[in-house]
Structures are given as C-alpha cells and as structure tokens.
C-alpha cells in the first residue's frame, strides 16, 4: 500500500518534470513552424561534445576513485573540511572557475611560473586537455562524493567481518568494494557525462577556439545571432537524446548491490592498511586538495583588494540570491523525495534529462509559453527558482535515490510489519536514514542556484539583481576588481549555504 502510494507520487513527480522540460521544447518547435536538418558543422559539434564529455567523465571518475577510497578508510584531522571542500568547485559560477583555473594553469599562471623557475617550458592549457582539466576540476569532487557515499553505504558489519577474517586489502577490495563500485560508478559516469555535454563557455575558452565548439554553443548561436528557433530546438533534442542514451547505459551497467543490510552503526575501518598504502593515501589526498584548493585560493586572494569597492547594490543582490537559493533547495528536495519514492529505473532515468536542456532552452520555451498570458519580467525570479530546481535535480536524484532504495530494502519489511505508512513511514523510516543525503542535496541545490546566471537575463528584471548578474555587470563595465570581490562574496555565500546544509545533515561519522 505504502509502496503503491510511493510509486504514484514518483510517477506524478516524473510526469511534472517531463512536462516542465518538454513543454518549452514543444513551444519552440511550434513557434519555429517545424524542425531543421543538422548541417555538417552541427555534426562536428556533436562529435566534439561527445568526445570531451566522455573523456571528462572517465578521467573525473578515475581520479575520484583513489581519493574517495582514501577518504573512506582514513580518519584524520581536517577530514570533514576536506569533504566539504569537495563541494566547492562544483558550485562556482562558470566564469569565476575559469578565471581561477587560468590563474593557476594559464600562460602566466602559478604552475607555469614555477616551471619556468625550474627551467622548464610553459605548459599550454588551451585545447582538448584544457577542457578535460576544467571539467575534472568541476566534477571530480562530485564523483568523489558519490563514490564516498557508496563506500559509506557498505554496512559497518561487513568491514568488521573483513577485519576479523584478516582479509588482505586486495580481498576486501574484491569482495566488498568492487560490488559497490559496479553499482555506483555507472551512475557517476552518466551524471558527469551529462553535465559536460551541456558545457559551453568552459569548453570554448579552455578549448582554445572553434575546434572546441559544443552543441550548446550552436544552440546559443541559433537562439541569439541567427534567431533560428527550429535549429535550436532540433539541436536541443539531439542533446536530450545523448543524455537519454547515457542514462540508459548507466541503468544497464549498474548491478544490484549484494552487500545486504546493516545496523547503520558508524563505520570503523580496522582493515585500513598500513605501510606504503598509508603513504599513498596521504599523497593522493594531498594532491587532490592542492588541485581543488589552489584555484579557489587564488580567486579568494584576487577578490580581497576589491572588497573596498563593493557596489551599493551588493547586499540586496546577495539577499535575492540567497532567497532564490533557499527556494530552489526546498523545491529540489521535495521533488527528488517524491521521485525517489518510486525507485523505478525509468523514473531515475528521467531525472537526468534536465541536464540536457540548458537554462537557455528552458527559459526561451517558457518565455514563449508565458508571454501571451503574463509579462515575463514579473515571473523572472520564480522562473529562476524553477530552472535552478530543474538543473539541480539530476544530481540530487542520483544522491537520494540510492539512499532511499537502501532504506527501503534494509528496513522496508520491518516497517511493513509495523504498519508504517504514509507520513509516519516518511518520518520514522525514510527521513532519518536519508538525512545525510538530503543535507548534501539541499546544500548542492542551494549552492548551484547561487552561482547560476540562469534565465534572468532573458526574462529581464530591472532592480532585482542576483550576485552573478551583478558580477557580470561589473565585468562588463571594466570594474574587474569589484567583480572579483563580488565573486568572492558569491563564493563565500554559496559555500556557506552548502556547508550549513551538508553539515546539518551529516551523520557523526561522515
């Protein structure tokens, strides 16, 4: 009974999501009066998009594996801070992150300055490797969090047993970790692949020119410079098809987890190997921390001098951004809980789709739908919340769905026997088990929403600046220092929100 209600809610939520996504596409197609056949340049863009997204996903997850493993089996001071740091790159506004990467890896960046001191030639960041580097910077931390969650979901009893049996690390890996990875890795790969598919500014700037043209750039061009709505819609459909393929592939390859239920005790890792493996873990963590922290630190430093020139509108903009972020976080968690209740594979696949449709496509479509009814500028902030929610959903669903499934598979039968249903089941079974995942989701959704420029420029609001918009405006008015300072405030607020939610939900062990 409870399950049937859950499935109903899940289907309802998935249906709502599909409507929110595809109504705008339909509106654009109708307005365009039909589609368009992709030109050779579009296919070139598709090929490059696929290549960079696939490489970025593979490298991100490959690098995340040792980091997540080290985090899972080591306890050290600063571990919590490290885990919190893994949220940071992901939530930076694109332009801020690019500037941070350039400050470290660019022609005059810290890395090349250091290399020059050693008498080594400069490394060029621009090219396919630069695109992958930037995407790894954004997504490796996300992959780490997803994998770490997988490790933490292995019941503590299994590790205790492994320690009692005195299993060598290789055997623990094969018996406990590989089955978990087979379940988690495909989802992480698919999610990152899908995120990178829709990359535009990062791919162009770090790709070094038109070689690095992605489908998203072609969509932008079609909307603004060519006003070819049919082409924009067809390109958006192609992008959606690619994401759908990735989602299906992830579902096919993900195997059911066989590690069974545990009692949810804090995990103690008696098996954590000593000797050289300990040194290797330390090295991995230090390298990862340096890679993630260096660009962020340089951004923070470059933001400091401008703090004295912060414009008067900063606190109003900050307030607007925080309110939008909180609303998006609440909506995202509600919708994701609804969808996770269904547990069905299809529902989870649907959850990746928003990644395929950029804010630009969604915004334009909804603009077309709403314009005859109501002045779009009135709805700028609600639209911003809606689009940010859609953009955050894929990640949150990826994180919540497995946790929900585990709660149900581990304790669902007991809850059934006890007759726990509806809200009571949610309160006593689901929410306590989902707390860490929910906290992470809310933090992620809030922070993502803070950094996104989204649809606000399209809908146009006079006097309702958000922080990213304010930053772009300062940059556009030559005020680079002040823009960096706004970037710093934006970073601090995003990270603060993320940290509050994430810590608020964290289990004592995490």
């Amino acid at each position: 009974m409870a399950l049937r209600a859950g499935a109903l809610i899940a289907r309802g939520s998935a249906g709502l999501l599909l409507a929110l996504l595809f109504a705008p596409l339909a509106a654009i197609l109708i307005r365009a009066g039909g589609g368009y056949l992709p030109a050779p340049a579009d296919w070139a863009a598709v090929r490059f998009t696929l290549l960079q997204a696939a490489l970025s996903a593979l490298v991100s997850v490959a690098l995340a594996l040792p980091v997540a493993r080290a985090l899972a089996r080591r306890r050290f001071p600063g571990r919590r801070l490290f885990i919190a740091l893994t949220g940071a790159p992901f939530i930076l506004p694109v332009i801020v992150a690019v500037m941070g990467l350039v400050a470290i890896f660019g022609v005059r960046g810290a890395l090349n300055t250091a290399l020059a001191q050693l008498g080594l030639g400069p490394l060029r960041i621009y090219g396919l490797h630069g695109v992958v580097l930037a995407h790894v910077f954004f997504n490796m931390p996300l992959a780490t969090r997803m994998l770490l969650q997988g490790w933490q979901a292995i019941p503590a009893e299994r590790f205790r047993l492994a320690a009692q049996l005195n299993l060598p690390p290789a055997a623990t890996f094969r018996l406990l970790e590989v089955p978990m990875l087979r379940q988690v890795v495909p989802g992480a790969l698919a999610a990152i692949f899908a995120i990178c598919l829709a990359s535009f500014a990062v791919a162009l700037i770090l790709g070094g020119g038109p070689r690095a043209t992605t489908v998203e750039l072609a969509i932008y061009q079609a909307f603004t410079f060519d006003f070819d709505l049919g082409r924009a819609a067809v390109l958006a459909l192609m992008q959606t098809a690619l994401v759908a393929l990735a989602a299906v592939a992830a579902l096919v390859f993900a195997r059911a987890d066989g590690s069974g239920a545990g009692l949810g005790r804090p995990i103690a890792r008696w098996d954590a190997p000593r000797g050289w493996r300990r040194g290797a873990d330390v090295l991995v963590l230090m390298l990862a921390a340096a890679f993630l922290a260096a660009p962020i630190l340089s951004l923070a430093l470059s933001g400091l001098p401008g703090l004295a020139q912060l414009p008067a509108g900063i606190w109003g903009a900050a307030m607007t951004s925080v309110l939008v972020a909180l609303a998006s976080a609440a909506l995202t968690c509600l919708l994701c809980l609804g969808m996770a209740a269904g547990l069905s594979a299809v529902v989870q696949g649907v959850g990746l789709l928003p990644l395929a449709l950029s804010p630009l496509v969604l915004g334009t479509g909804w603009f077309l739908i709403l314009n005859p009814v109501i002045a779009p500028s009135v709805l700028a902030l609600p639209m911003l919340v809606a689009v940010n929610t859609l953009m955050a959903m894929p990640f949150c669903l990826r994180i919540l769905a497995p946790a929900y499934a585990r709660a149900e598979s581990d304790h669902g039968r007991l809850a059934d026997q006890l007759g726990l249903r509806g809200l009571a089941r949610l309160r006593w079974l689901v929410l306590p088990r989902l707390r860490p995942a929910l906290g992470f989701c809310a933090g992620l959704a809030a922070a993502l929403s803070m950094g996104d420029l989204g649809v606000i420029t399209l809908f146009g609001t006079s006097g309702q600046d958000t922080l990213p918009l304010l930053m772009y405006r300062l940059m556009g008015a030559y005020r680079t220092e002040a823009a960096s300072a706004v970037g710093l405030i934006l970073m601090a607020l995003s990270f603060g929100l993320f940290w509050l939610f994430d810590r608020g939900g964290a289990a004592p062990d995490a």
């Binding site: 660019g106 621009y126 535009f200 070689r211 006003f227 314009n371 002045a375 405006r473 556009g476 030559y478």
Partner: protein
C-alpha cells in the same frame, strides 16, 4: 533628503499612477547597470517628459533583438536601444520597427541617412594592449609576430562579429588567409567581451579585441595610462550603436520624444564616460583628452547593414575552417 523625496514620490505615485504614462525601453544589460548610462539618462529624460522611463535589460545587442522577436507584436517595448549596424538588416527585416523621423547633426565618420535607426554612440574596434608590450600596425604584422591575442567568438558576441566583418571588409577574398595566419597568435576565443578582457587583464595575452576607447576608461577612472589601443593601417572597423521605436509602440509619441532626446546634447554628454563610446553628436563641452581620435576618419571601415548581413554566413564558415586547423 533622499527619504523625503522617496516618500513624496510614493505619495504622488499613488495619485499620479493613473496619469503618468510609462515608456518601456529595452536595452542591453551594461547600458542599464549602475555604472552604465541608464540611471543618468533616465533621470534626465524623466525631468522633461512627465513620464516614467523603464529600462528592461536583456543580455547584449543580439540577445536584445531575439527577445523582441520572441515577443513579436505583443511586445510592450516602445524603444529598443543598443542594436548595431551588424544587426540592423535583421532587425529591419522583422518589420517590428517603425521610422521615427529623428535626425541630428551627426559627428560620425560617415553620412547617416537611415530614418528608422537612430545612432546614439559609436566606436572603433581595436586591439588593446600594454604600452610596453607588442604594438603591431596591421593584421599582417600581427600575424607575423608572436604576439598572443584573445578574441571573442563571432557566433556569440558583438565584438567577435565586429572582428569577423573587419577582416572581411579589409581583406575580402584574402580574409581566410589572414585568419589562417592569425591562428597561431590566438590564445583562445571567449563567448563574450567580459571574459576576453578579464583574461587580458590577467596577463593571458598581449592583446585583446576591444575598443579604441578602452584605454580612456583606465585613464579617467583608474588614473592608469598603461593601456593602449592600436590603430591599424588597414583601418579600424566601426561599431555604430542605434536605437529605434517599435512599430507597435504603446507610446509612439513618447518614443519619438525619447529618440530625439537621445541625440540631444544632454544625453550625448552623458554617454562617453558611462558607455565608453564616442558620442554620435559633438557635445557642447569638449571631451576629455583620453577620447582623442587615434584613427583618422578616412581609415574608418564599416559595411552597410545589407552588406554585413550578406557577408556574415560565408565569413563565419571561412573563420571556422581556418581556425579549426
């Protein structure tokens, strides 16, 4: 004092709301920012029109036009401010604009006869660099040098499109060769002006595609004379920014009045130091020395709107294949 004005304003607004007509002006984002001309223009025009001027910002010039096209005849816009000559042919073809019969004694390097689109400021595209850095005098010299440049993408930004048309106008059929020769100078291509200029300031490149007036900002606002704009022997391509009233303007009279105001001395003297462009009409008070022309008038390059529209697609293809290696 400010509060008193505000309070009086609120009180009056409630009584006057019914009578005060609203003039809706769509413009690009940086025009309406606190650092752009928007606030001063609004204040000055409202002082003479007995109306409420409302700016609605939307991205850049191209985004502005596509927003208007999305809205079509239902648009509430009376005036669209911030298109340029590269977008004019497309804009005219939409049929969404109407002649305003506004003219002035323009100080443009070329004659202006269009009766629909009113030019309000203009500038030259130019590579901007550091005074102690490389200063090539032409595209060929730039291509032969090892100077590094950051440029904007012509598919997503107005300056990028300007550079594309510049090379096309200066070199015609040889343009693809110039692009091929430039390809090893290009550090990267950015989606918009802000990213490119930011990367230049970070030191990622010696030169960035910007405007001849960019150094004026650094001199006047930052007291920094280390930036220079380079005049090229081929000539520098112009950007003329225009405004026009819409065919379905709810307030056509106010729209005409606003366009006339835009080329009046009052508005023209606001523009240079807020929009960092040259005024379309010579203002009564002379401009600061930082605005002195570095490009002689006979080196001003510009395609007519029709020419630009026809050249765009083939030039883009050539650009893409030359740079895609």
């Amino acid at each position: 004092m400010k509060h008193l004005v505000l309070a009086t304003g609120c009180l009056l607004a409630s009584q006057a709301a019914a009578q005060t007509p609203v003039l809706n002006v769509y413009t690009y984002d940086s025009f309406d920012s606190d650092w752009g001309p928007g606030p001063q223009i609004e204040q000055a025009f409202e002082a003479q029109c007995a109306c409420d001027l409302v700016f609605t910002p939307a991205g850049d010039g191209a985004a502005l036009l596509s927003k208007l096209r999305l809205e079509g005849a239902r648009s509430k816009a009376d005036v669209v401010l911030g298109l340029d000559t590269a977008l004019m042919a497309q804009a005219r073809a939409t049929g969404l604009f109407a002649p305003a019969q506004v003219s002035a004694d323009y100080a443009l390097p070329l004659a202006w006869t269009d009766d629909t689109f009113v030019p309000f400021d203009w500038g030259y595209f130019a590579f901007v660099g550091n005074a102690d850095g490389p200063k090539p005098h032409s595209f060929r010299e730039l291509a032969a040098s090892d100077a590094k440049i950051v440029i904007e993408d012509p598919r997503s930004s107005t300056p990028g499109l300007g550079l594309l048309l510049w090379v096309q106008k200066a070199y015609g059929d040889e343009a693809p060769e110039i692009w091929k020769a430039l390809s090893d100078n290009i550090v990267t291509v950015t989606p918009g002006w802000s990213e490119a200029y930011g990367m230049f300031l970070e030191g990622e490149a010696d030169l960035v595609l910007s405007y001849t007036t960019s150094p004026a900002y650094h001199v006047i606002a930052e007291d920094d004379d280390s930036k220079v704009a380079l005049p090229f022997e081929e000539g520098n391509y112009m950007q003329v920014e225009v405004a026009a009233m819409t065919a379905h303007a709810p307030q056509p009279d106010l729209a005409r009045q606003f366009l006339a105001f835009l080329v009046s001395d009052k508005a023209q003297s606001i523009l240079p130091e807020t929009n960092w462009m040259y005024p379309a009409v010579k203002p009564a008070t002379p401009l600061p020395a930082a605005f002195d022309q570095i490009v002689p008038a006979d080196k001003a390059l510009l395609m007519s709107p029709e020419e630009a529209e026809a050249a765009r697609a083939p030039a883009l293809d050539a650009w893409r294949s030359a740079l895609a290696r």
